[in-house]
Protein backbone atom coordinates (compact mmCIF):
# COMPACT_ATOMS: atom_id res chain seq x y z
CA UNK A 1 0.00 0.00 0.00
CA UNK A 2 1.28 3.44 -0.77
CA UNK A 3 1.49 5.74 2.24
CA UNK A 4 2.51 8.74 0.20
CA UNK A 5 2.19 9.11 -3.53
CA UNK A 6 3.03 11.74 -6.07
CA UNK A 7 1.13 11.77 -9.38
CA UNK A 8 2.68 14.10 -11.97
CA UNK A 9 3.44 16.71 -9.32
CA UNK A 10 5.02 19.99 -10.35
CA UNK A 11 6.18 22.69 -7.98
CA UNK A 12 8.65 25.56 -7.82
CA UNK A 13 9.62 28.88 -6.35
CA UNK A 14 8.73 32.26 -7.85
CA UNK A 15 7.58 30.74 -11.13
CA UNK A 16 10.78 28.73 -11.54
CA UNK A 17 9.82 25.07 -11.80
CA UNK A 18 11.89 22.76 -9.59
CA UNK A 19 9.78 19.62 -9.83
CA UNK A 20 8.47 18.60 -13.28
CA UNK A 21 5.63 16.08 -13.30
CA UNK A 22 7.20 13.86 -10.64
CA UNK A 23 5.43 10.57 -10.04
CA UNK A 24 6.54 8.35 -7.22
CA UNK A 25 5.02 5.94 -4.74
CA UNK A 26 6.35 5.50 -1.22
CA UNK A 27 5.29 2.31 0.51
CA UNK A 28 4.45 1.73 4.15
CA UNK A 29 6.98 -0.37 6.04
CA UNK A 30 9.84 0.53 3.72
CA UNK A 31 12.74 2.95 3.67
CA UNK A 32 12.63 4.96 0.47
CA UNK A 33 15.70 6.92 -0.49
CA UNK A 34 15.61 10.12 -2.50
CA UNK A 35 18.92 10.70 -4.19
CA UNK A 36 20.12 13.11 -6.82
CA UNK A 37 22.75 15.72 -7.46
CA UNK A 38 22.61 19.11 -5.71
CA UNK A 39 19.60 21.06 -6.90
CA UNK A 40 17.80 18.01 -8.27
CA UNK A 41 14.69 18.80 -6.21
CA UNK A 42 14.99 16.39 -3.26
CA UNK A 43 14.28 18.96 -0.56
CA UNK A 44 11.62 20.60 -2.71
CA UNK A 45 9.87 17.25 -3.02
CA UNK A 46 9.81 16.89 0.77
CA UNK A 47 8.61 20.49 1.22
CA UNK A 48 5.81 19.89 -1.27
CA UNK A 49 4.81 16.69 0.53
CA UNK A 50 4.64 18.63 3.81
CA UNK A 51 2.43 21.29 2.30
CA UNK A 52 5.08 23.96 2.84
CA UNK A 53 5.12 24.54 -0.89
CA UNK A 54 1.91 24.22 -2.91
CA UNK A 55 2.01 21.89 -5.89
CA UNK A 56 1.38 23.81 -9.09
CA UNK A 57 0.15 20.66 -10.77
CA UNK A 58 -0.56 17.02 -10.06
CA UNK A 59 -1.87 15.29 -6.95
CA UNK A 60 -0.12 14.28 -3.71
CA UNK A 61 -1.93 11.68 -1.71
CA UNK A 62 -1.20 11.04 1.97
CA UNK A 63 -2.65 7.71 3.14
CA UNK A 64 -4.87 7.76 0.07
CA UNK A 65 -6.36 11.20 0.66
CA UNK A 66 -5.28 14.27 -1.37
CA UNK A 67 -2.97 16.45 0.71
CA UNK A 68 -5.04 19.67 0.59
CA UNK A 69 -8.02 17.76 2.02
CA UNK A 70 -6.14 17.04 5.25
CA UNK A 71 -6.90 19.33 8.20
CA UNK A 72 -3.70 20.72 9.71
CA UNK A 73 -3.87 18.77 12.98
CA UNK A 74 -4.71 15.45 11.34
CA UNK A 75 -1.89 15.88 8.82
CA UNK A 76 0.53 16.59 11.67
CA UNK A 77 -0.40 13.26 13.26
CA UNK A 78 0.01 11.43 9.96
CA UNK A 79 3.36 12.83 8.81
CA UNK A 80 6.45 13.73 10.83
CA UNK A 81 9.39 15.71 9.51
CA UNK A 82 13.07 15.81 10.38
CA UNK A 83 14.64 18.76 8.54
CA UNK A 84 18.10 19.14 7.09
CA UNK A 85 20.72 20.15 9.70
CA UNK A 86 17.96 20.10 12.30
CA UNK A 87 18.73 21.77 15.57
CA UNK A 88 17.05 23.31 18.59
CA UNK A 89 17.12 27.08 18.80
CA UNK A 90 16.88 27.03 22.59
CA UNK A 91 18.81 24.62 24.81
CA UNK A 92 15.77 22.71 26.04
CA UNK A 93 16.14 19.61 28.17
CA UNK A 94 16.22 16.70 25.71
CA UNK A 95 13.09 15.06 27.10
CA UNK A 96 11.09 18.26 26.76
CA UNK A 97 12.33 18.70 23.23
CA UNK A 98 11.22 15.18 22.32
CA UNK A 99 7.85 15.93 23.96
CA UNK A 100 7.30 18.64 21.30
CA UNK A 101 6.77 15.74 18.92
CA UNK A 102 3.57 14.96 20.82
CA UNK A 103 2.10 18.37 20.09
CA UNK A 104 -0.26 17.10 17.36
CA UNK A 105 -1.82 14.74 19.90
CA UNK A 106 -2.54 17.37 22.51
CA UNK A 107 -5.03 20.18 22.79
CA UNK A 108 -3.80 23.66 23.54
CA UNK A 109 -3.55 23.63 27.33
CA UNK A 110 -3.68 19.91 28.09
CA UNK A 111 -0.74 18.52 30.05
CA UNK A 112 1.24 15.60 28.70
CA UNK A 113 -0.91 12.52 29.10
CA UNK A 114 0.44 9.13 30.15
CA UNK A 115 0.39 8.02 26.52
CA UNK A 116 2.48 11.04 25.56
CA UNK A 117 5.05 10.33 28.27
CA UNK A 118 5.25 6.71 27.19
CA UNK A 119 5.74 7.69 23.56
CA UNK A 120 8.50 10.15 24.55
CA UNK A 121 10.36 7.57 26.65
CA UNK A 122 9.97 4.92 23.99
CA UNK A 123 11.27 7.22 21.25
CA UNK A 124 14.24 8.18 23.42
CA UNK A 125 14.96 4.56 24.20
CA UNK A 126 14.81 3.51 20.55
CA UNK A 127 17.32 6.23 19.68
CA UNK A 128 19.71 5.18 22.50
CA UNK A 129 19.01 8.60 24.02
CA UNK A 130 17.30 7.71 27.29
CA UNK A 131 20.50 8.47 29.18
CA UNK A 132 20.51 11.92 27.57
CA UNK A 133 16.92 12.66 28.53
CA UNK A 134 17.68 15.08 31.38
CA UNK A 135 20.56 16.85 29.63
CA UNK A 136 20.26 20.18 27.92
CA UNK A 137 20.64 20.26 24.15
CA UNK A 138 23.68 22.53 24.32
CA UNK A 139 25.49 20.00 26.50
CA UNK A 140 25.23 17.28 23.85
CA UNK A 141 27.56 16.43 20.99
CA UNK A 142 26.35 16.73 17.40
CA UNK A 143 25.74 13.00 17.18
CA UNK A 144 23.80 12.95 20.46
CA UNK A 145 21.72 15.93 19.33
CA UNK A 146 20.92 14.14 16.06
CA UNK A 147 19.63 11.14 18.04
CA UNK A 148 17.46 13.32 20.27
CA UNK A 149 16.05 15.19 17.26
CA UNK A 150 15.25 11.90 15.55
CA UNK A 151 13.53 10.79 18.76
CA UNK A 152 11.47 13.99 18.54
CA UNK A 153 10.30 13.03 15.04
CA UNK A 154 9.60 9.42 16.11
CA UNK A 155 7.67 10.49 19.21
CA UNK A 156 4.86 11.76 17.00
CA UNK A 157 4.18 8.15 16.00
CA UNK A 158 3.20 9.21 12.49
CA UNK A 159 2.73 6.56 9.78
CA UNK A 160 4.85 8.66 7.40
CA UNK A 161 8.29 10.03 8.31
CA UNK A 162 10.15 12.46 6.07
CA UNK A 163 13.84 12.98 6.85
CA UNK A 164 15.98 15.45 4.93
CA UNK A 165 19.67 14.52 4.89
CA UNK A 166 19.63 13.10 8.44
CA UNK A 167 23.06 11.53 7.93
CA UNK A 168 24.85 14.69 6.89
CA UNK A 169 27.40 16.10 9.37
CA UNK A 170 27.59 12.82 11.29
CA UNK A 171 30.63 10.62 11.70
CA UNK A 172 30.49 7.15 10.05
CA UNK A 173 29.40 5.29 13.19
CA UNK A 174 26.57 7.73 13.85
CA UNK A 175 25.55 7.64 10.18
CA UNK A 176 25.21 3.87 10.22
CA UNK A 177 23.37 3.90 13.53
CA UNK A 178 20.98 6.54 12.26
CA UNK A 179 20.17 4.55 9.15
CA UNK A 180 19.58 1.47 11.32
CA UNK A 181 17.16 3.48 13.44
CA UNK A 182 15.28 4.49 10.29
CA UNK A 183 15.14 0.83 9.25
CA UNK A 184 13.74 -0.06 12.69
CA UNK A 185 11.08 2.59 12.24
CA UNK A 186 10.16 1.19 8.82
CA UNK A 187 9.98 -2.30 10.32
CA UNK A 188 7.18 -0.98 12.55
CA UNK A 189 5.14 -0.18 9.45
CA UNK A 190 6.11 3.42 8.91
CA UNK A 191 6.79 4.76 5.44
CA UNK A 192 10.23 6.32 5.85
CA UNK A 193 11.25 8.72 3.09
CA UNK A 194 14.80 9.95 3.39
CA UNK A 195 16.94 12.18 1.20
CA UNK A 196 20.57 11.09 1.02
CA UNK A 197 23.72 12.36 -0.60
CA UNK A 198 25.68 9.28 0.29
CA UNK A 199 25.02 6.69 -2.42
CA UNK A 200 26.52 3.86 -0.38
CA UNK A 201 24.04 4.55 2.46
CA UNK A 202 21.22 4.66 -0.08
CA UNK A 203 22.28 1.39 -1.67
CA UNK A 204 22.70 -0.37 1.65
CA UNK A 205 19.75 0.79 3.73
CA UNK A 206 16.93 1.65 1.31
CA UNK A 207 14.29 -0.77 0.07
CA UNK A 208 13.53 1.55 -2.78
CA UNK A 209 15.45 4.43 -4.33
CA UNK A 210 14.06 7.33 -6.35
CA UNK A 211 16.73 9.13 -8.36
CA UNK A 212 15.87 12.75 -9.12
CA UNK A 213 17.64 14.69 -11.81
CA UNK A 214 16.73 18.25 -12.76
CA UNK A 215 13.34 17.96 -11.08
CA UNK A 216 12.32 14.75 -12.85
CA UNK A 217 12.51 11.10 -11.85
CA UNK A 218 15.51 9.59 -13.61
CA UNK A 219 15.14 6.13 -12.13
CA UNK A 220 13.14 4.39 -9.42
CA UNK A 221 13.11 0.92 -7.95
CA UNK A 222 15.22 -1.37 -5.79
CA UNK A 223 18.70 0.04 -5.14
CA UNK A 224 20.59 -2.25 -7.51
CA UNK A 225 18.29 -1.28 -10.38
CA UNK A 226 17.82 2.41 -9.55
CA UNK A 227 21.50 2.89 -8.89
CA UNK A 228 22.70 0.92 -11.92
CA UNK A 229 25.91 1.95 -13.63
CA UNK A 230 24.24 3.79 -16.49
CA UNK A 231 22.08 5.85 -14.06
CA UNK A 232 25.08 6.79 -11.93
CA UNK A 233 26.97 7.73 -15.05
CA UNK A 234 24.15 9.79 -16.54
CA UNK A 235 22.85 11.50 -13.41
CA UNK A 236 25.83 11.79 -11.08
CA UNK A 237 28.70 11.68 -13.57
CA UNK A 238 30.43 8.99 -11.54
CA UNK A 239 31.29 5.39 -11.98
CA UNK A 240 30.96 3.07 -9.01
CA UNK A 241 32.79 0.22 -7.37
CA UNK A 242 30.54 -2.54 -6.12
CA UNK A 243 31.67 -5.00 -3.52
CA UNK A 244 30.20 -7.26 -0.90
CA UNK A 245 30.38 -6.49 2.81
CA UNK A 246 31.34 -9.02 5.45
CA UNK A 247 27.61 -9.65 6.04
CA UNK A 248 27.02 -10.35 2.36
CA UNK A 249 25.26 -7.06 1.72
CA UNK A 250 26.11 -5.33 -1.53
CA UNK A 251 28.12 -2.14 -1.03
CA UNK A 252 28.36 0.63 -3.58
CA UNK A 253 31.01 3.30 -3.59
CA UNK A 254 31.04 6.29 -5.92
CA UNK A 255 34.52 5.96 -7.30
CA UNK A 256 35.49 8.16 -10.15
CA UNK A 257 33.99 11.13 -11.89
CA UNK A 258 33.14 9.93 -15.34
Amino acid sequence: MSALSFARVSAGYHGRAVLNAVSAVFAAGAVSGLVGPNGAGKTTLLRTALGLLPASGGVIRLLGKPLPAWPREARAKAMAYLPQSADAHWPLVARRLVALGRMPHRTALAPLAAADLRAVDEALARCDALSLAERRMDELSAGERARVLLARALATGAPVLLADEPAAHLDPAHQLRLMELLRDEAARGTAVIVTLHDLSLAARYCDQVVVLDGGSVAAAGPPDAALADDVLNRVFNVSAVRTTGSDGVLALIGWKSA
Binding site: L50, Y81, H89, W90, V93, R96, L100, E134
Partner: protein
Protein backbone atom coordinates in the same frame (compact mmCIF):
# COMPACT_ATOMS: atom_id res chain seq x y z
CA UNK B 1 23.24 28.82 28.54
CA UNK B 2 26.34 28.61 30.66
CA UNK B 3 27.68 25.49 32.21
CA UNK B 4 27.73 26.79 35.83
CA UNK B 5 23.99 27.07 35.65
CA UNK B 6 23.61 23.41 34.87
CA UNK B 7 25.55 22.39 37.91
CA UNK B 8 23.59 24.93 39.93
CA UNK B 9 20.38 23.26 38.85
CA UNK B 10 21.62 19.93 40.05
CA UNK B 11 22.75 21.33 43.35
CA UNK B 12 19.32 22.75 44.02
CA UNK B 13 17.50 19.47 43.83
CA UNK B 14 16.59 19.18 47.51
CA UNK B 15 15.12 22.68 47.34
CA UNK B 16 13.04 21.76 44.33
CA UNK B 17 11.77 18.64 45.98
CA UNK B 18 10.65 20.66 48.97
CA UNK B 19 9.11 23.26 46.73
CA UNK B 20 7.32 20.56 44.83
CA UNK B 21 5.76 19.15 47.96
CA UNK B 22 4.82 22.59 49.18
CA UNK B 23 3.29 23.80 45.95
CA UNK B 24 2.66 20.47 44.29
CA UNK B 25 -1.02 21.13 43.76
CA UNK B 26 -0.79 24.66 42.39
CA UNK B 27 -1.16 24.52 38.62
CA UNK B 28 1.36 27.23 37.79
CA UNK B 29 3.07 25.42 34.98
CA UNK B 30 0.54 22.87 33.91
CA UNK B 31 2.22 20.19 31.93
CA UNK B 32 5.48 19.71 33.74
CA UNK B 33 3.76 19.67 37.07
CA UNK B 34 1.32 16.94 36.24
CA UNK B 35 4.20 14.78 35.24
CA UNK B 36 6.40 15.57 38.21
CA UNK B 37 3.59 14.71 40.56
CA UNK B 38 2.74 11.46 38.91
CA UNK B 39 6.42 10.51 39.01
CA UNK B 40 6.94 11.46 42.61
CA UNK B 41 3.74 10.07 43.99
CA UNK B 42 3.74 6.79 42.12
CA UNK B 43 6.41 4.11 42.17
CA UNK B 44 8.81 4.23 39.22
CA UNK B 45 8.11 1.82 36.40
CA UNK B 46 10.07 -1.40 36.45
CA UNK B 47 13.42 -1.28 34.73
CA UNK B 48 13.37 2.47 34.51
CA UNK B 49 16.27 4.60 35.61
CA UNK B 50 15.31 6.71 38.62
CA UNK B 51 15.45 10.32 37.50
CA UNK B 52 13.74 13.58 37.89
CA UNK B 53 11.52 14.21 34.89
CA UNK B 54 11.27 17.70 33.39
CA UNK B 55 13.77 18.93 35.89
CA UNK B 56 12.78 22.52 36.36
CA UNK B 57 8.98 22.25 36.60
CA UNK B 58 8.87 22.70 40.36
CA UNK B 59 11.66 25.22 40.30
CA UNK B 60 9.71 27.19 37.72
CA UNK B 61 6.60 27.16 39.89
CA UNK B 62 8.65 28.33 42.84
CA UNK B 63 10.22 31.20 40.88
CA UNK B 64 6.84 32.22 39.47
CA UNK B 65 5.37 32.42 42.96
CA UNK B 66 8.35 34.41 44.19
CA UNK B 67 8.00 36.85 41.29
CA UNK B 68 4.31 37.29 41.99
CA UNK B 69 4.98 38.06 45.66
CA UNK B 70 7.83 40.42 44.76
CA UNK B 71 5.65 42.26 42.25
CA UNK B 72 2.94 42.73 44.88
CA UNK B 73 5.51 43.83 47.47
CA UNK B 74 7.13 46.39 45.17
CA UNK B 75 3.68 47.60 44.09
CA UNK B 76 2.84 48.26 47.74
CA UNK B 77 6.19 49.95 48.48
CA UNK B 78 5.74 52.14 45.41
CA UNK B 79 2.30 53.10 46.65
CA UNK B 80 3.67 54.20 50.05
CA UNK B 81 6.61 56.23 48.72
CA UNK B 82 6.24 59.83 47.60
CA UNK B 83 7.12 63.46 48.25
CA UNK B 84 4.03 63.96 50.39
CA UNK B 85 4.93 62.32 53.68
CA UNK B 86 1.76 60.45 54.49
CA UNK B 87 1.24 57.63 56.91
CA UNK B 88 0.49 54.31 55.20
CA UNK B 89 -2.66 54.06 57.31
CA UNK B 90 -3.95 57.38 55.94
CA UNK B 91 -3.12 56.38 52.40
CA UNK B 92 -4.98 53.11 52.68
CA UNK B 93 -7.96 54.87 54.22
CA UNK B 94 -7.78 57.48 51.47
CA UNK B 95 -7.55 54.83 48.77
CA UNK B 96 -10.89 53.38 49.79
CA UNK B 97 -12.71 56.53 50.87
CA UNK B 98 -11.32 59.01 48.35
CA UNK B 99 -11.89 61.85 50.82
CA UNK B 100 -9.51 64.66 51.65
CA UNK B 101 -5.87 65.13 50.71
CA UNK B 102 -4.98 61.51 51.46
CA UNK B 103 -7.82 60.33 49.25
CA UNK B 104 -6.69 62.45 46.29
CA UNK B 105 -3.05 61.49 46.73
CA UNK B 106 -3.85 57.80 47.11
CA UNK B 107 -6.35 57.53 44.26
CA UNK B 108 -5.03 60.08 41.77
CA UNK B 109 -1.26 59.96 42.27
CA UNK B 110 0.05 56.93 44.14
CA UNK B 111 -2.28 54.23 42.84
CA UNK B 112 -1.81 55.14 39.13
CA UNK B 113 1.95 55.32 39.53
CA UNK B 114 2.31 52.05 41.43
CA UNK B 115 -0.14 50.14 39.24
CA UNK B 116 1.25 51.57 35.99
CA UNK B 117 4.75 50.49 36.98
CA UNK B 118 3.51 46.91 37.29
CA UNK B 119 1.46 47.06 34.10
CA UNK B 120 4.15 48.73 31.99
CA UNK B 121 6.76 46.28 33.25
CA UNK B 122 4.43 43.36 32.60
CA UNK B 123 3.79 44.52 29.05
CA UNK B 124 7.49 45.00 28.28
CA UNK B 125 8.61 41.74 29.92
CA UNK B 126 6.00 39.63 28.12
CA UNK B 127 6.66 41.40 24.80
CA UNK B 128 10.38 40.75 25.11
CA UNK B 129 9.86 37.07 25.89
CA UNK B 130 7.46 36.68 22.97
CA UNK B 131 9.68 38.50 20.46
CA UNK B 132 12.69 36.47 21.56
CA UNK B 133 10.67 33.31 21.07
CA UNK B 134 9.42 34.39 17.66
CA UNK B 135 12.83 35.45 16.35
CA UNK B 136 14.53 32.64 18.30
CA UNK B 137 17.11 35.09 19.51
CA UNK B 138 17.80 36.56 22.96
CA UNK B 139 18.62 39.98 21.46
CA UNK B 140 15.06 40.67 20.26
CA UNK B 141 13.16 43.13 22.43
CA UNK B 142 10.59 45.91 21.86
CA UNK B 143 13.24 48.62 22.39
CA UNK B 144 15.98 47.04 20.30
CA UNK B 145 13.60 46.21 17.45
CA UNK B 146 12.33 49.78 17.26
CA UNK B 147 8.78 48.99 18.43
CA UNK B 148 9.10 51.29 21.46
CA UNK B 149 10.47 54.21 19.40
CA UNK B 150 7.68 53.89 16.86
CA UNK B 151 5.08 53.73 19.62
CA UNK B 152 6.66 56.91 21.02
CA UNK B 153 6.50 58.55 17.61
CA UNK B 154 2.83 57.67 17.31
CA UNK B 155 2.16 59.16 20.72
CA UNK B 156 4.13 62.34 19.95
CA UNK B 157 2.15 62.79 16.74
CA UNK B 158 -1.08 62.44 18.73
CA UNK B 159 0.22 65.04 21.20
CA UNK B 160 1.48 67.39 18.48
CA UNK B 161 -1.76 67.53 16.52
CA UNK B 162 -3.70 68.00 19.71
CA UNK B 163 -5.54 64.72 19.20
CA UNK B 164 -4.70 63.60 22.71
CA UNK B 165 -6.62 66.63 23.98
CA UNK B 166 -9.66 65.81 21.82
CA UNK B 167 -10.01 62.38 23.38
CA UNK B 168 -7.56 60.64 25.72
CA UNK B 169 -7.91 57.39 23.76
CA UNK B 170 -6.07 58.91 20.79
CA UNK B 171 -2.74 58.79 22.61
CA UNK B 172 -2.67 55.02 23.21
CA UNK B 173 -4.33 54.42 19.83
CA UNK B 174 -1.58 56.28 17.97
CA UNK B 175 1.13 54.64 20.07
CA UNK B 176 -0.31 51.23 19.20
CA UNK B 177 -0.48 52.17 15.51
CA UNK B 178 3.17 53.20 15.63
CA UNK B 179 4.13 49.95 17.36
CA UNK B 180 2.10 47.97 14.84
CA UNK B 181 3.89 49.68 11.94
CA UNK B 182 7.35 48.78 13.17
CA UNK B 183 6.37 45.28 14.30
CA UNK B 184 4.74 44.82 10.89
CA UNK B 185 7.94 45.79 9.08
CA UNK B 186 9.90 43.29 11.18
CA UNK B 187 7.26 40.67 10.46
CA UNK B 188 7.52 41.22 6.70
CA UNK B 189 11.33 41.13 6.84
CA UNK B 190 11.28 37.89 8.82
CA UNK B 191 8.82 36.38 6.32
CA UNK B 192 11.26 37.19 3.53
CA UNK B 193 13.85 35.11 5.31
CA UNK B 194 15.89 37.90 6.89
CA UNK B 195 18.32 36.48 9.41
CA UNK B 196 18.25 37.44 13.05
CA UNK B 197 21.14 39.89 12.76
CA UNK B 198 19.39 41.54 9.80
CA UNK B 199 16.26 41.90 11.92
CA UNK B 200 18.14 43.47 14.80
CA UNK B 201 19.86 45.86 12.41
CA UNK B 202 16.53 46.64 10.76
CA UNK B 203 15.23 47.39 14.25
CA UNK B 204 18.09 49.79 14.81
CA UNK B 205 17.27 51.52 11.51
CA UNK B 206 13.56 51.70 12.37
CA UNK B 207 14.39 53.10 15.81
CA UNK B 208 16.70 55.76 14.30
CA UNK B 209 14.07 56.77 11.76
CA UNK B 210 11.38 56.99 14.43
CA UNK B 211 13.69 59.04 16.67
CA UNK B 212 14.52 61.37 13.76
CA UNK B 213 10.88 61.94 12.86
CA UNK B 214 10.09 62.43 16.54
CA UNK B 215 12.85 65.06 16.70
CA UNK B 216 11.34 66.74 13.64
CA UNK B 217 7.92 66.84 15.28
CA UNK B 218 9.47 68.22 18.46
CA UNK B 219 11.45 70.93 16.68
CA UNK B 220 8.32 72.27 15.00
CA UNK B 221 6.40 72.03 18.27
CA UNK B 222 4.03 74.97 18.83
CA UNK B 223 5.77 76.26 21.96
CA UNK B 224 8.83 75.47 24.06
CA UNK B 225 6.70 74.28 26.93
CA UNK B 226 4.96 71.68 24.78
CA UNK B 227 8.33 70.59 23.46
CA UNK B 228 9.87 70.07 26.88
CA UNK B 229 6.76 68.17 27.93
CA UNK B 230 7.10 65.81 24.98
CA UNK B 231 10.85 65.37 25.49
CA UNK B 232 10.41 64.48 29.15
CA UNK B 233 7.60 62.15 28.29
CA UNK B 234 9.67 60.45 25.59
CA UNK B 235 12.42 59.68 28.08
CA UNK B 236 10.09 57.44 29.99
CA UNK B 237 8.58 58.29 33.32
CA UNK B 238 5.71 57.33 35.55
CA UNK B 239 5.58 60.72 37.21
CA UNK B 240 2.27 62.57 37.25
CA UNK B 241 0.22 59.80 35.71
CA UNK B 242 -3.51 59.91 36.28
CA UNK B 243 -6.14 57.31 36.99
CA UNK B 244 -7.33 57.83 33.39
CA UNK B 245 -3.91 56.77 32.07
CA UNK B 246 -4.13 53.62 34.16
CA UNK B 247 -7.65 52.84 33.01
CA UNK B 248 -6.65 53.14 29.36
CA UNK B 249 -3.41 51.20 29.64
CA UNK B 250 -4.51 48.28 31.82
CA UNK B 251 -7.08 46.61 29.53
CA UNK B 252 -4.94 47.11 26.42
CA UNK B 253 -1.89 45.59 28.09
CA UNK B 254 -3.92 42.68 29.42
CA UNK B 255 -5.37 42.07 25.96
CA UNK B 256 -1.88 42.24 24.44
CA UNK B 257 -0.45 39.74 26.92
CA UNK B 258 -3.45 37.47 26.30
CA UNK B 259 -2.62 37.51 22.57
CA UNK B 260 0.98 36.62 23.36
CA UNK B 261 -0.05 33.82 25.71
CA UNK B 262 -2.39 32.41 23.06
CA UNK B 263 0.59 32.00 20.72
CA UNK B 264 2.82 30.41 23.38
CA UNK B 265 2.43 26.83 22.19
CA UNK B 266 3.46 27.83 18.70
CA UNK B 267 6.61 29.43 20.11
CA UNK B 268 7.60 26.10 21.66
CA UNK B 269 7.21 24.42 18.28
CA UNK B 270 9.25 27.20 16.65
CA UNK B 271 12.19 26.05 18.78
CA UNK B 272 12.59 23.42 16.09
CA UNK B 273 12.31 25.89 13.21
CA UNK B 274 9.37 27.07 11.15
CA UNK B 275 9.15 24.03 8.89
CA UNK B 276 9.00 21.58 11.78
CA UNK B 277 6.48 23.81 13.55
CA UNK B 278 4.35 23.62 10.41
CA UNK B 279 4.76 19.83 10.33
CA UNK B 280 3.59 19.72 13.97
CA UNK B 281 0.31 21.31 12.89
CA UNK B 282 1.13 24.84 14.04
CA UNK B 283 -0.26 27.69 11.97
CA UNK B 284 3.06 29.54 11.81
CA UNK B 285 1.66 32.60 10.05
CA UNK B 286 -1.06 32.82 12.69
CA UNK B 287 1.49 32.62 15.51
CA UNK B 288 3.52 35.43 13.92
CA UNK B 289 0.41 37.57 13.50
CA UNK B 290 -0.69 37.09 17.09
CA UNK B 291 2.76 37.91 18.47
CA UNK B 292 3.17 41.02 16.31
CA UNK B 293 -0.31 42.21 17.26
CA UNK B 294 0.08 41.33 20.94
CA UNK B 295 3.46 43.07 21.17
CA UNK B 296 2.06 46.14 19.41
CA UNK B 297 -0.94 46.28 21.78
CA UNK B 298 1.04 45.74 24.98
CA UNK B 299 4.11 47.81 24.11
CA UNK B 300 2.03 50.52 22.44
CA UNK B 301 -0.23 50.92 25.47
CA UNK B 302 2.73 50.78 27.87
CA UNK B 303 4.64 53.39 25.88
CA UNK B 304 1.58 55.62 25.69
CA UNK B 305 1.38 55.49 29.48
CA UNK B 306 5.06 55.72 30.43
CA UNK B 307 7.06 56.86 27.41
CA UNK B 308 10.08 54.94 26.20
CA UNK B 309 11.23 52.46 28.84
CA UNK B 310 13.79 50.28 27.11
CA UNK B 311 15.70 47.06 27.82
CA UNK B 312 13.18 45.64 30.32
CA UNK B 313 12.06 43.17 27.67
CA UNK B 314 15.68 42.23 27.02
CA UNK B 315 16.94 41.71 30.54
CA UNK B 316 13.98 40.00 32.20
CA UNK B 317 13.40 37.03 29.87
CA UNK B 318 17.12 36.41 29.68
CA UNK B 319 17.50 36.20 33.44
CA UNK B 320 14.40 34.02 33.89
CA UNK B 321 14.93 31.62 30.98
CA UNK B 322 17.10 29.06 32.88
CA UNK B 323 14.39 28.65 35.52
CA UNK B 324 11.87 27.60 32.88
CA UNK B 325 13.98 25.07 31.02
CA UNK B 326 14.62 27.57 28.18
CA UNK B 327 11.08 26.87 26.96
CA UNK B 328 9.63 29.95 25.25
CA UNK B 329 6.00 29.21 26.10
CA UNK B 330 6.57 28.85 29.82
CA UNK B 331 8.59 32.05 29.86
CA UNK B 332 5.94 34.56 28.76
CA UNK B 333 3.87 35.02 31.91
CA UNK B 334 6.84 34.85 34.32
CA UNK B 335 8.53 37.49 32.15
CA UNK B 336 5.46 39.69 32.58
CA UNK B 337 5.79 39.27 36.37
CA UNK B 338 9.55 39.83 36.23
CA UNK B 339 9.11 42.96 34.13
CA UNK B 340 6.58 44.26 36.66
CA UNK B 341 9.06 43.64 39.48
CA UNK B 342 11.90 45.33 37.59
CA UNK B 343 9.98 48.47 36.56
CA UNK B 344 8.36 48.87 39.99
CA UNK B 345 11.77 48.47 41.64
CA UNK B 346 13.38 50.94 39.23
CA UNK B 347 10.59 53.45 39.80
CA UNK B 348 11.09 53.15 43.56
CA UNK B 349 14.86 53.48 43.14
CA UNK B 350 14.69 56.71 41.15
CA UNK B 351 12.46 58.26 43.80
CA UNK B 352 14.89 57.26 46.53
CA UNK B 353 18.00 58.34 44.58
CA UNK B 354 16.58 61.61 43.28
CA UNK B 355 13.43 62.61 45.15
CA UNK B 356 13.12 65.80 43.08
CA UNK B 357 12.56 63.85 39.89
CA UNK B 358 15.76 64.60 37.96
CA UNK B 359 16.28 60.92 37.24
CA UNK B 360 13.74 59.44 34.85
CA UNK B 361 12.65 55.82 34.69
CA UNK B 362 13.59 55.35 31.03
CA UNK B 363 17.02 56.85 31.70
CA UNK B 364 17.70 54.43 34.54
CA UNK B 365 16.56 51.33 32.62
CA UNK B 366 18.68 52.38 29.62
CA UNK B 367 21.73 53.01 31.82
CA UNK B 368 21.42 49.54 33.29
CA UNK B 369 20.11 47.80 30.18
CA UNK B 370 22.54 49.03 27.51
CA UNK B 371 25.64 47.54 29.18
CA UNK B 372 23.67 44.32 29.69
CA UNK B 373 22.86 44.27 25.98
CA UNK B 374 26.54 44.65 25.07
CA UNK B 375 27.52 41.95 27.56
CA UNK B 376 24.90 39.66 26.01
CA UNK B 377 26.27 40.24 22.50
CA UNK B 378 29.79 39.42 23.70
CA UNK B 379 28.53 36.30 25.45
CA UNK B 380 26.66 35.11 22.36
CA UNK B 381 29.71 35.71 20.19
CA UNK B 382 31.81 33.50 22.42
CA UNK B 383 29.40 30.61 22.08
CA UNK B 384 29.74 28.42 18.98
Amino acid sequence: MSAPNATGTRAKRPLRLTALRLFGASPVNGEGKQNSRSRFFSPPLAGEVAREPFASAAEGAFVTLALLLLALAFGCISFFIGPANMAPRDLIAGLFSGHGASGIIAQQIRLPRAALALIVGGALGASGAALQGLFRNPLAEPGVTGVTSCAGLGAVIALYFGLAAVHPAFLPAFAILGALASAGVLYILSRRGAGVMALVLAGVAIASLATAVTALVLSVAPNPYAMSEMVLWMMGSLKDRTLADLLFAAPLVVAGIAFLASAARGLDALTLGEEVAHSLGVNVAGVRMRIVFGVALATGAATAAAGAVSFVGLVVPHLLRPFYGYEPARLILPSALGGAVLVAAADIAIRLIAPDGQLLLGVLTAMLGAPFFIWLILKLRREP
